[in-house]
């Protein structure tokens, strides 16, 4: 099996798979002390897409990235790149490059030498190395810095060098390990736009690891949400946000109200007695998720609305957050767009009626 280290510059074909992980297990330690960083993870990442692995620290997202890069070998399972088995291929034989969290720029080399490194190791002719390096530096707008040492650059510039260095050898897949976490907010926003631009211009498949849900929602074509070594849900940002499959996904991405009730004809019966319309397929206890912005506040005597009491209100500028209590005491949060004057429309203690936006209630798997 000879995996070429220099990928042919084939354009990405949407729909074809760039990376396929099948039942991947990664265990650290042995026997009693064994910890499964990845527990039977299968995922398909399409060519040319911006795929984000999202989850809290320790969820296994970086481990999955390191397995794809070849820095570690899985305990079990298979990883395919372009349909070829790369599970046990060393990193230098994989047409996959990484942008490290710490950037890992070579401190003894200049900016241009850093960018040229991968091309030289691939054995590209000097003229091509020079030409590609110049093009890459122009792509990340660092042409003027070519002869500087990397230690003389700012964090944002180092980030760009790391990107150019990883993109220069035209990898089939670019892996990004929380590359923006060391940047301040303003720079981070800039780099988010920059990354999307680079991905669009190069057409390379990006696999991006982050714990920042907002970053994931704004940048990704698709997101894989991970927790405790398992892939919880894969979908577009919209799917993940509006149709979370379980409690973890619903709570990790955005704010969510959780309501527990029991399955009843036509929907779910809450402890307060209210019946919520929802498609329930199984009997027994059911957890519902409703986003605060889908909770509508109406007059107390509005027909069909659930009675609730205002507990508190927080002003957020563009919107207003109300803490409400239902008849049975369970709390619920509502988010309402602030009025022109931004004044508090409701005061604590006031009686209101609440209703959920049609189709906004999500039945969770657990």
């Amino acid at each position: 099996m000879s995996q070429s280290a220099s990928p042919a510059p084939t354009p990405a074909e949407p729909g074809r798979l760039a990376i396929e992980a099948r039942n991947v297990v990664k265990a650290f330690g042995q026997g009693e002390g064994e910890v499964r960083a990845l527990n039977d993870v299968s995922v398909e990442i399409r060519q040319g897409e911006f795929f984000t692995l999202l989850g809290p620290s320790g969820c296994g997202k970086t481990t999955l990235l390191r397995l794809i890069a070849g820095f570690e070998m899985p305990t079990d399972g298979t990883i395919l790149l372009d349909g070829q088995d790369i599970t046990y291929l060393p990193p230098n034989k994989r047409p996959v490059n990484t942008v490290f969290q710490s950037y890992a720029l070579f401190p003894h080399l200049t900016v241009a030498q850093n960018v040229a490194f991968g091309l030289q190791m691939q054995g590209k002719p000097a003229a091509e190395v020079k030409e590609t390096t110049a093009r890459m530096l122009a792509l990340v707008k660092l042409d003027a810095m070519a002869t500087r040492k990397t230690s003389q650059l700012s964090g944002g510039q180092q980030q760009r060098v790391a990107l150019a260095r990883a993109l220069a050898p035209k990898p089939k897949v670019l892996l990004l390990d929380e590359p923006l976490s060391a940047l301040d907010l303003k720079l981070r926003k800039e780099m988010q736009v920059e990354l999307k631009r680079l991905q669009h211009e190069t057409g390379i498949t990006f696999i991006f690891v982050t714990h920042d849900q907002e970053e994931a929602l704004t940048m990704s074509d698709r997101i894989g949400v991970m927790s405790a070594g398992k892939l919880q849900q894969v979908g577009t940002p919209r799917e993940i946000y509006t149709r979370p499959v379980n409690r973890f996904v619903a709570s990790f991405i955005g704010d969510t109200n959780f309501l527990t009730g029991s399955s009843a004809p036509g929907g779910v019966r809450l402890p307060s007695g209210a019946l919520i319309e929802a498609a329930v397929t199984r009997p027994g206890a059911v957890t519902l998720a409703v986003r605060p912005e889908h909770v509508r506040i109406e007059a107390a005597d509005s027909p069909g609305a659930m009675p609730a009491t205002v507990k508190g209100a927080v002003y957020f500028g563009t919107d207003m957050n109300y803490q409400l209590a239902l008849a049975d005491g369970s709390e619920i949060e509502a988010c309402v767009v602030s009025g022109v004057t931004g004044e508090m429309a409701l005061n604590p203690g006031e009686k209101v009626g609440i209703r959920f936006a049609p189709g906004a209630v999500q039945v969770l798997e657990d």
Binding site: A5, A69, G70, F71, P90, P91, N92, K93, V96, N97, T98, F100, S102, A104, L105, F106, P107, H108, F117, G118, M121, Q122, R165, A166, P169
Partner: protein, 267 residues
């Protein structure tokens, strides 16, 4: 109630003690240097300024031969020791922890702990057996002996440098299609450079002024500069010894200064 945090500088007698310690360390050396310029025959009675002893030492063929021999041994031994120490340092830092790692670590640093005289006697007996078996009498024994006790001095700074290096740099090189050898050649080695140079210099200095092991291992006519000086002092004590010592001191100071500047610059 102490309002200020503890500081040794404020203890009574701190300055006096410090001055006394520095005097004890440096007055003998200054005396040695001063008397190397003595016009008289005595190493203890001042008879006016003169550079005669430097001229004498410089013209002394035995001193010249011993110096060249010392440098040859020090250069060869520090080169061998540094190469071995670099490999040992890579082996003890760039792989997964293995059983007996601490044992290996102690073994490498053995010359720092075993009394030098013990090593000297052991080498004398060991080399005597080889000499009888092979008939070889050359400088090889001294070079090997020096290489052995120089290894830990070269090993420690190299290992410290490797441990302080960001491991993700080597991972990044592998990610960018570098083979393990290319990774070592293009990334690890350049970054390790200051550590290797520091280790080599330390080994060089240690080899240059060794007496005990050299005295035991050397064959007839294989005096190094320190053993030649020792031999001279048994016969007659003239300021020529002071002059030689001063030159040796200058060489050592120069090397240690270079060592300091190198390690500091690449901190």
């Amino acid at each position: 109630m102490a309002r200020q945090s503890f500081s040794a500088v404020r203890l009574p007698g701190f300055t006096t003690t410090a001055v006394l310690v520095f005097l004890a360390l440096y007055v003998p050396i200054f005396t040695l240097v001063a008397y190397s310029f003595n016009a008289s025959q005595s190493v203890a009675v001042w008879g006016g300024f003169s550079l005669d002893w430097y001229a004498k030492a410089w013209a002394n063929t035995q001193v010249k031969e011993a110096t060249l021999r010392s440098l040859l041994i020090a250069v060869s031994a520090s080169a061998i020791a540094t190469a071995a120490a670099t490999m040992a340092a890579l082996g003890t830092t760039r792989r997964k922890a293995f059983r007996g790692q601490t044992f290996i670590y102690v073994m490498i640093n053995q010359p720092l702990m075993v009394p030098e005289i013990v090593t000297a006697v052991a080498l004398l007996i060991f080399f005597a057996a080889i000499k009888v078996a092979t008939g070889y009498q050359g400088l090889g024994y001294l070079i090997l002996a020096h290489s052995a006790f120089c290894i830990p001095f070269a090993y420690l700074p190299i290992r410290a440098r490797l441990e302080g290096m960001d491991l993700s740099l080597e991972t990044a090189a592998a990610d960018l299609y570098a083979t393990p050898w290319q990774t070592f050649r293009r990334v690890t080695l350049p970054l390790l450079g200051p550590g290797i140079i520091a280790g080599a210099m330390l080994a060089f200095v240690i080899s240059l002024d060794d007496v005990v092991i050299t005295e035991f291992v050397k064959s007839g006519g294989q005096d190094t500069l320190p053993t030649y000086m020792l031999g001279q002092m048994r016969r007659q004590l003239t300021p020529e010894i002071n002059a030689i010592s001063t030159m040796l001191l200058m060489l050592t100071v120069a090397i240690l200064t270079a060592f300091f500047l190198l390690t500091r610059k690449n901190d």
